[in-house]
Amino acid sequence: MNEIIVNTTINGRREQLRVDASVTLLDALRDRLGLTGTKKGCDQGACGACTVHLDGRRVVSCLTLAVQADGREVLTVEGLGGGHPMQEAFVRHDAFQCGYCTPGQVLSAVALLDEGRAGTDEEIREFMSGNLCRCGAYPNIVAAIREVAGR
């Protein structure tokens, strides 16, 4: 074991964690901090369910070590507060079925707008390709993002 103290800001709140070096950010969020909004899908960086923002950039938390978040700011779906325009658009457009991939989809969609990648539906689809939805809600996800983008 190699326990390390990690000082990080999660959803605007400073947190100090003592974690083993091999603990992922995803597991630290869910199991140590009780922030279970971030979902574990494939756990191998292939599905995007665990997407969070690290210093404002979207990453997959399953392949991020918790120690790599030291000194950095993490945003999870809980930090969006439930009333974020993207969350409301997802609800309005029925952009999910089972909802398991939705936190990752929403965080990816918020980042996509910051990146200026919502110019066309084709661009939205390409830059949302890191988030899989097994229910196939893709058309409604694109519609929700399009609406928030003001197109």
């Binding site: 070096a21 091999s22 191998q44 392949l63 991020t64 996509l112 390409e126």
Partner: protein
């Protein structure tokens, strides 16, 4: 599976720390390493030395080349104005690889060192893998193959090098800058990777503890036109079945020069020297392009699952050449 973690305070310290411990490794973006160590258990580093916060990232113009710091992320490189303007097909390759999340994490040095996607290599339930455990055989040669190599392959290993970025970098004759305890050295990317031969576990010329510090990318002539064409099973977020990176200069209907590398087909990013020779001073037409493609896919090593790649790779190259030489106006993929 556990390891110790340290955050390097300098390049020299990182190199010294990894060099001193045979079970130590550098950690940058982690997208390959965390996956293979923690999830698949295929690699077993006991000590990870995090270099991601060292001041190594960034892109500079260095004479007729672009120099990219090894810890620059794929997203940062793709967003760089000079990359888009001077190396458009490098930008295309970056944006056709992985997903936006992974591109925010993965570094350029790590991209070059990414491990193969061969399912047998990544599955400990399969005992036969010469790359993972030398001398055990190759399950892919006898098993189900599709995302595997047909060039540079042998009965001992058909594992594919899956990088998109490395393909245009190989076409341009990029140079990898390395640093070890013994000092710095440079290696052309075309000599950086080893063919599997009898030792598929030795993938490149790096010494233990040697660090990639920069990648130097020579700029193509300003009148060159370039493209990166990637063919895959899904329209996005998928590794290449075949790909081609091409930079050509055309004058009065003839090819003056061509730089070509292929992806999705080689155990290493595949520079198609023979195709470049065929195209020199050749007329811009499909006969020339087909001849170049035949020269590029010379004596492939196929298994039943990969036979389709022979023709697909040729057509991918022909399409790329049609685009850069102006024979067709736009990519049709």
């Amino acid at each position: 599976m556990t390891f110790t973690y340290t955050r390097a305070t300098s390049q020299a310290a990182a190199i010294a720390e990894v060099s001193a411990d045979p079970k130590a490794a550098f950690l940058a973006g982690g997208t390959t390493q965390v996956d293979l160590a923690l999830k698949d258990g295929v690699i077993d580093p006991r000590r990870l030395v995090d270099i991601s916060r060292l001041p190594m990232a960034g892109i500079t113009v260095d004479g007729d080349a672009l120099r990219v710091g090894a810890t620059t992320t794929m997203a940062e490189m793709a967003a760089d104005e000079r990359v888009g303007r001077l190396l458009p097909f490098v930008r295309e390759a970056l944006l056709l690889g992985a997903s936006p999340q992974l591109r925010n994490m993965a570094t350029i040095g790590g991209n070059l060192l990414q491990r193969t996607r061969c399912r047998y290599f990544r599955d400990l339930a399969e005992a036969r893998c010469n790359k993972r455990t030398p001398g055990t055989g190759c399950a892919a040669v006898e098993g189900v193959a599709r995302m595997h190599a047909i060039l540079g392959a042998s009965p001992s290993c058909i594992a594919l090098h899956a990088s998109d970025l490395a393909v245009p970098l190989t076409a341009l004759g990029s140079i990898v800058h390395l640093r070890s305890g013994g000092g710095p050295r440079t290696v052309p990317l075309t000599e950086f990777y080893r063919l599997p031969g009898e030792a598929p576990d030795r993938e490149n010329v790096l010494w233990h503890g040697e660090l990639i510090t920069d990648v130097e990318i020579p700029l193509p002539p300003t009148r060159a036109r370039t493209t990166y064409i990637k063919v895959r099973d899904r329209s996005s977020y998928e590794f290449a079945l075949t790909s081609a990176a091409v930079a050509t200069v055309v004058e009065a209907g003839f090819v003056v020069s061509a730089r070509i590398a292929l992806g999705g087909v080689g155990t290493i990013p595949w520079r198609a020297w023979e195709a470049e020779d065929v195209l020199r001073d050749a007329p811009v037409n499909d006969e020339s392009f087909r001849a170049a493609a035949n020269a590029a896919i010379h004596r492939p090593f196929t298994v039943p699952g990969t036979e389709f790649k022979v023709e697909l790779a040729k057509r991918t190259l022909v399409r790329a050449l049609r685009i850069t030489t102006g024979l067709v106006a736009e990519p049709t993929s």
